[in-house]
Structure formats: C-alpha cells, structure tokens
Amino acid sequence: MKISYKWLIELTGLDWNPEDLGDRLTLCGTACEYIDPADQYMHGVIVGEILAINKIEGADKIRLATVNLGDRQLDVVCGAPNIEVGLKVPVATLGAKLDGGIVIKKAKIRGIDSEAMICSERELGLSDEHAGILVLDSSATPGQELAELLDYKDDFMMTFELTPNRPDSMSAVGIARDMAALASVKVNKPTFELTESEEKASDYIKVTIEDEVACPRYAARIIKNVKIAESPYWLKKKLVLAGVRPISNVVDITNFVMLELGQPLHAFDYDRFGSKEVVVRMGKEKEPFKSLDGADHELTSEVIMITNGKTGVAAGGVMGGFDSEVEDGTTNILLEAAYFNASMIRKSRRQLGFVTESSQRFEKGADPNIIEYAIDYAASLLQSLCGGEVLAGIVDCYPSVIEPLKIKFRPKRCNDIIGTELTSDKMKQIFEDLEFTVTGDTDFEVTVPTFRPDIEREIDLIEEISRIIGFDNIPSSNTNIGSLYTPIHYEDKFKKEMRTVLTGVGFDEFISHGLADSKLANLLHTDRPQLKIANPISEDLDIMRNCLMQTAMTVIHHNVSHRSLDLSIFEIGKTYLPPDDKDYWAEDESLVLAVTGNTQHTWRDKPRPRDFYDITGAMKAMATHFGWGDFSFEAKQFSFFEKEISFEISLNNKVCGLIGKMNSKVSKKFGVKQDVFIAELNLAYLLSLSNKLIAYQPLPIYPAALRDLAMIVKEEVQANELLQQVKKSAGKYAESVEIFDLYQGKQIEKGKKSIAISISYRSKESSLESAIVDASQQKVVADLVKKFNVEIRDK
C-alpha cells in the first residue's frame, strides 16, 4: 500500500515529519517500509517554454527546440511528435536523474551539443506515458521547478506493508485513523456538495441481487453528460504517489475515492451497458466474458458476475468488462458501489487469475456501510471535475443490513492479559479515538464500526488497546513461571554425547532436510516404500528419504566433486517409513557413519585408505562410552554393498543396523568414484541400551598374570570366534582377552594368518599361583587346537 505523505497530513492536521510518521505507524501495526521523496525523478527538472522549433539536417524524427528557461535559453534536441511553439514543457537539465536510470549529461546528437531533455511522463515517474512529452499548464512560469509547480516538493511516497487482518488500512482515511488515534485527534474526512438533477436515477436503472451471500449490497448512480478528459494535477498526483496510473478523469475519480475511503467503485459507460437493469449473479460454467484488459475468460460458477440481465458486464469486485468500459466518447455513466463477500471474491479472482486493487480490498473485507458516502463523494467529483449531471437518488439494493458488532469488554481482563495498569477511562478514550462507541463503566459494551471486520472478540479489542498504547509502553516482567526444576530429556543428552564421541574420533557431523531423489533411493533399499511429495519443488527432491545412506552419499558426492576426498562423516536424522499404527509415517531416527578417501598424512603417519575398521572403531568408541557391549557382524547380502563386505550389525543379539562397502556401481551413480564404507544404525535401540546407572567396581587388590599366545590359523577363522573360545576356555580368572597382533605375509603359509592374543588372569581373593594360570593356558591351547586346528608359535 502506497500513499502520499501530504495526503495523510491533510487528513489529520498533524505536523509529524515523514520519518516520525513512519515510525509511529510501524509501532502501532502499520509497518512503514519505504519513504521515497515524491520528486525523486524531478531534481533539476524545470519549466521551459518552447520559443522555436527547427529541423535538424539529415534527421526526420528529431527536431531542435529552443526553450526559454527563465534565466537563459537552451537548444534541446527532441524526438517527441507533440512539441509546439508556445507550449510549456518540463526540461531536465544537466545532472538530472530521471526514472529508468536516465542521467542528463553533455552529449553530441547529430553534431549538435545537447545538455538537456524535454521529458515525457514516464521519465518523470508520473505514468507509463511516453509517446509524447508532458505538456504543462499554460500558466506555468519558465524557470520554475517542476516539483514545485506540480506540488511534488516536500511530499513523499510512503510504502506500507499491511498485515492481512487489517483491511481498513487499505485507504488514506484508514491509515489516518490510526494516526488520529495515536494523537487523540479526529480525522478530517472529505466533505463535498452534491446537487442532484430532477431526473430520477431509478428511471434509468434497476438493481437485482440474485445471490445475497456473494453480494449483500449493490448501489448505483447515474451521471449524465460527463466530459472525458485528463484529470487535474492534484488528483493525478495522489494517484501517482499511490502507485496507480492515471487514465482519464472518470476512471481516476473512481480510483481516487477507492484510495481515499477504501471503497472500490466502477464506472460503466451507461449507453453501452446493454440494458436498464443490473443483475448480480454467479457465473455459469463456461460462460464467456471479456475483461476490460481485452482478455477472454471462460467462467465457472465461482465467479461473481455483474450482468445486464443477459450477458456479463463485469466480474464483480475484480474487474470491469471490455464492452462497457468508459472510453473517450463516453457521456453517460453508471456508477457502481457494491459490497462483496470476502472469501467469494478470493475464489472469483483465483478463477480469473488476477489480483486487482479492487479484489485486494474486497477479499480482505470492505465496509458495507460506507457505500452511500463513497458513491455520493464520487458523484460530486464527477459533477465538479467532469461537468456531469447527477441524477436524483441512489438505486441501492441492500436486502439485509449488516449491523456493527457489539462486544463485551472487561478492562480488568485487558490489564491481566497485557500486564498493565491502565484505567478504564484511558481504554475508553482509545476506543473512542478509533471511532468505536463505548457504553458501560466497569465492563464495557463496545460497538465496532463495520470498517473493522477484523474485530470480533474481546481479545481483538485488547489487541487494539495494546497497539495504540504501544508495545514499548508495556512493562517487561521478570516473574518466573513454571517449576524451578527443568528436566533434560535423556534423548537429548544421548545425542549430544554421541556427537561428542564421534567428533572426538574424527567424524564431521552433517545435516540433511530429508527431501531426496526417488531415482537415487531406488539404488539402495529397493524393498522400502517411499513417501512421495505431491507437489515437489523439483524432480530430485520428490520423496522423504527412507534411509540415511542416501543423503550421506549425496554429501560425499558434493565434497568429492569439490576435491575434498578424505572424509569421515556422520548424521543423526530421521527416516520416513510406513507406519506401524496407521496414523503417521514412522519417523525413526538413525545414525549413519561413512568414510572414504585416506587418513591424514603427517610427517609421522603415512596415509592409508579409510576403511571398514574406521567405522567399527568409531562404533566401539561409542559402545565404550555408552556401555553397550560388543557389536557382532553377520554376513548378509545387500544389493548396494560389495558381496565380500556386506553385514548386518547386532548388539545384544538384536539386529540394529547394517554395514558394508558401497558397491562401486552404485557409488558411481551417486557420482562417487572412490571406495565408500558406510554403516547405518537404529538410534532408538541404541538409546534404549544407554541410560544405565554405572555401579562402581572395587579396584583390584591382587596382581594380574599376563600370558601371550601366538598362533597360525586358517584365514577364514574370524577374530571374534577365537576370542570367544579363549574367553570360554580360560576359565573364571580370565579378566580380559585382546588381540595384539595380526600378520599375513612372507613367513606365513598362503591362506593362513598369524594372530597373537594376550590374556590377563586375576583373582579377587588372592594372588594367582602360576600353576593355576598355566593350567588355564594349557586348556586354552588345547581347545584352540581342537576347534580351529591352530598351530601355536613359539615366542
């Protein structure tokens, strides 16, 4: 919403400067976005009188005009067809900055020095008109500043961003009303005189409303013998500074009244209306309609139509029709002022596919009871500015009058909600300043005028009080609400600790929004359903992911393609999978861990490829931190993993994830050409194992006995099998069993490996005698030989 600063000042009589006005309105809910000087494109533009026009040799389109600028004469090259000797015109002089980025500089045009320009309305930011130059009033004085002549000096274009709940602010009077309430003054609403002729309007037009819900009120006036012309400057200026293009006096008047009062009006050419009756009804399916911009529409039953009883002449509240549009030759006017249902206008304009100044006002909620005032005001202007003859009476169809709402208001409740100690009198004053009427003392009954359809409840009235006193005047309290103890949910603590552990072992956290590409999802868990987005923003974000591996691969691709080849990354995030109960898609959280590239290269450590064990190592770090016990890995074929390295992960005998080496073909489809190892774990399960109280174990009193055991074994025997066997065989004194060496190579027979295990024996009761330890050790060896056919190596 744009409006002239001076217009608002005229309506209120307040002396606020533009910044002040903008700030005050912003703080009461009408946000002022920009304040632009009205004459921003008129600096250095002065009135010139054309003294002579000469041809330029070799040019047929441009001519040379000699202009009198008051204190000097200047030759100006001009291409406009409408220059004539004696005309007063705007001349942009050296340095002037015009609309569209034009800056007047010294230049040579066809060998002639040029340092000025005669302007059209477009270059001055006045309208889109640029076919000819702007011709000024003959009374203008050469040398006078154009901004001063047109009263643009010291005026500003105020741009407001309105909230959707305030239709009343879509007019100069509406904004002035808030200003007046802030200053506790009254708005100077426009006054006018209207002389009606003897002839009755009702002899010329009849109004029928067929759908009273869509159109509760329709009023018409007839104005005869108008003379279509340009509007006077003062009127054009108000339109221009409201961002509305001046067209002709009749149309400009309807727009002007709309801008001032908020009531959209429409002027029909009465002689081309097609009948003597207005019928308001809903459109018919496929009914044709040509709007005044020349576009052809096919209607639906959701469009409100103004008809002449036969065919549509306007889309009610949205746009007029082509055939009854006011033209240069129009003499008789049918003036419409109506009130339409807000949500039906919204549907109407959606069907038609455009938003107009009129539809914006109706769909937010106009005032059904301003219609008489608005139509009379417009009629008086048509009379005084277009020489029209206003016929007697308004033909007003208003079957059920919409009464102002009465709302109960408790001043105490108001103070209780906003935390103030305002007096009842103060609140009453505020309501009256807003043009509401108040009765009652302790509790009020507030009558809210129909120009404020947003106010329906007591809380809406409380809001009015709060915004007029200003939020800055509401105190700031330090009362603590709630209990002194605030729980931290273990889930949050768990995730935080998990991040600490994982970043501590070198993994970077990434986060995803979860939107993913179904084509890439099809490369992974082909058996999992996909939650499809009905209206995706793009093809590659058309589902919610069903696993985290997909987004991990996408992140790896991004980094690798930016030459960050060495990555250890993790994410804690949601997957979207079919529901257990039927109400929701299950949003379970998972942890994904992925590594690729090499380990870091320092002067001491040579790089090696990041691999499977970097992930299981990180898992072990978490297991140690949270006390989970040991993970186990069962071979299981996943289509997206390499055959050899594809496992299901279990913890405490329950499957809780998967791990493997990404199949190189799948990786390539993600754009990744290097090896990727990846694991995904069920977070809820890990969480369920984690929140355990640690019970203190007394520190050992007696020393431990350490024994090492080196053996050669077939390479397919897994480390964990050996460890489990050793633990079993070593007996109750075995405190820990660890692998401390692994070797395959020259000295070892092909297909075999050398493994070294250290066993720590300890008793809580006494120092262990070496005989006991030796016996245990012998049993270990015997069992390993028997079970795995190991060959014990001498130390």
Binding site: P164, D460, E463, S466, I481, G482, T486, M544, W585
Partner: protein, 337 residues
C-alpha cells in the same frame, strides 16, 4: 714488527673486541674488519704469495690459526647473544601429532545454544513429527480455512492429506492437548515451505518455537522472557523493539527487532542501514488455540514465540548463502569448530 707479531696482535685485538661486544651488529662489524673479504687477517692470507718461500708456510699456518680462533669465538659469542645457548638435535617445532577431530554442524551448535539459553530460563524441550496433519499445523492454530499458507503454493503435501510442517508450532498444538498448565516449552526442529532454493530462501529451514501457559501470564512476562533470551544469546546491551504484527495463533502479536549487533545500531549493510534486525515473532496465545486444546482460556493465558535458526546464524557469522547449511561442504563446516 714481523708478520707473525702482527698476526698475534690482530688476533688478540679481535678477541678483546669480541669480548666487549654486546650485540650481533657489532659482532658482524668485527667479522668484517678481520675476516671479511678485505679483512685484516684475510689480507695477510691473501698476501702469502708475495712472501718468500721460507716464511710462507709459517705465516700461513699462523694466520690460518688466528682466522679459525677468531671465527670460532665470533660464532660462540653470536650464539650466546642470540640466546641459543646450547642447541640439541631435538626439534620441538615439528607439528605436534594432533589426532584428527571432527566438528558438530553449525546448525546443531546454534540450536543447542538457543536451547541451552532457554533451558536456563526453565524451558523444557519438546518435539513432534515433521509430517503433520492439516489439523495440528493449521486448524488447531486458528488458521482460517482459506488462509494462503494452506495452499499448495506454500506448503508441500504428501499422501493421506498429510503435509510437511511449515513451522514447529504444531508441536504446541500437540503438547497443549496432552498436558496441563503450567507449561513452559521450546520446540526446536526442521520445517518446510514450497519455495525455490536460492541464496536467500530454502525449501527447508530450522526453527525454535517456545510457549508458556499458566494462570496470569501476561504480555509483560513475554517481553521479559524475550529480553532475557536476547541478552543471553546476542549481547547484554541488546535493545529490543516490539512491533505489532499478525499471526493466526497469537493475539496480540508482535514482531521483535533487536538492535543490530554488527553496527551497534548505527546502521550497516546487513541491517539495511536501519540499525535493527528482525529476529523473532511472538504474541499472546489466541484463546481459540487454548480452547481447541481443551484449556480454559478464561483461567489460563500464555505466550508463544518463534524464531528461525538459519537467519540469526547467517547474521552472526556473516554467511551470505543459506544453501551452505545443507550442502555440508566440509570446507564450510570446519570453519565452525
């Protein structure tokens, strides 16, 4: 005086001057005088060829001895002056073996910061699903049926009339339904809008909402809590401006600006020379919202607020492209250790 005597004299003289010298500059000068290209001892060595054969060997040996003695002394003195003392082969300047550590994502860090601040003020964390119903996302929050946000233009829908939540406020709808006042909650999480991805806007973003419901909760309490948060999160001398605004689920509603922490309110490019930054929306929970959740709005009142996470993070860390957060480029992530 014989050449040999002259050598002895020069050597003694040099030794004495070295002893008295107290700066590297003067040592350098001494070096030039005696051992430089045209130095006194150097000259003797250069002139050996002019001596008779019988003297050449003796003088040469003596001059060379002097040169070595002076040179060694010079070096020793230089080292002691440069504080070096004795130097061993151990090199402490080789880079320490720093184990590789990772970094927590910047958005996680900012959310944690916000939550910690509110936790200190007695707020508990609550969460809800990202795939929501129209009821919790809109209807329970008093959005009128034809509100533009309910449109396909603004919201992404999935099957069974579900949608991707457009704010974290539906957690409020759910929580109010299942809990009795006093309630004091913050709800961090991700939300979605049907918007094209650009440097300034994204289809997904994070938000932290908060709300408080109890008997006698006022706008003054809301202002106090928001001021306390902004002081803790931005800076102790932050100033706030509350502008009336409109949200369907609060009334009265306000938009909160903080004084720009980059220019201290003087005006800069980031605050568009206004000196203020829009940071948060808030308001008193609309009685309709409380009633829909079965809470008596005559007895209880409450306030709610909501803020983005990416926006303040962008302001604070001068990030000019919102897409960086979801790109997860580790050259970006690792800047926020």
């Amino acid at each position: 005086m014989s050449v040999l005597d002259e050598i002895t004299r020069l050597q003694n003289e040099a030794i004495e001057r070295i002893g008295k010298s107290d700066s590297l500059d003067s040592l350098q000068e001494i070096q030039n005088v005696y051992l430089g290209r045209k130095g006194l001892i150097t000259s003797i060595l250069k002139s050996l060829k002019d001596l008779p054969n019988d003297q050449r060997k003796e003088v040469g040996a003596s001059a060379n001895k002097a040169r070595v003695a002076v040179s060694n002394l010079l070096n020793e003195k230089k080292e002691s002056l440069s504080g070096g003392g004795e130097r061993s082969a151990f090199d402490p300047t080789l880079p320490g073996t720093q184990p590789q550590t990772g970094v927590v994502h910047i958005i996680t860090q900012v959310i944690e910061d916000i939550c910690n601040t509110f936790h200190g003020m007695g707020f508990e964390i609550a969460r809800g699903p990202n795939v929501e119903t129209d009821y919790y996302n809109f209807e329970a929050l008093n959005f009128p049926p034809d509100h533009p946000a309910r449109d396909m233009q603004d919201t992404m829908f999935v099957e069974h009339d579900r949608l991707l939540r457009t704010h974290t406020t539906p957690v409020q709808s759910r929580f109010l339904e299942t809990h009795k006042p006093p309630i004091k909650i913050i709800t961090p999480g991700i939300c979605f809008r049907n918007e094209a991805i650009s440097t300034r806007s994204h289809v997904a973003f994070h938000q932290v909402d908060g709300f408080v419901v109890d008997e006698g909760v006022t706008m003054a309490d809301m202002k106090g809590a928001i001021l306390a948060f902004c002081k803790a999160f931005f800076s102790d001398d932050v100033k706030l401006k509350f502008r009336p605004s409109y949200f369907p689920f609060t009334e009265p509603s306000a938009e909160v600006d903080i004084s720009c922490f980059l220019c201290e309110g003087k005006g800069c490019r980031v605050c568009k020379y206004a000196g203020w930054l829009e940071i948060l929306g808030c308001g008193m929970i609309d009685p309709n919202v409380l009633e829909k959740a079965g809470i008596d709005s005559e007895k209880y009142s409450g306030y709610a607020f909501g803020m983005g996470v990416e926006r303040p993070a962008m302001l604070k860390y001068k990030i000019n492209d919102i897409r960086l957060f979801f790109n997860n480029d580790n050259r970006f992530l690792r800047q926020f250790r």
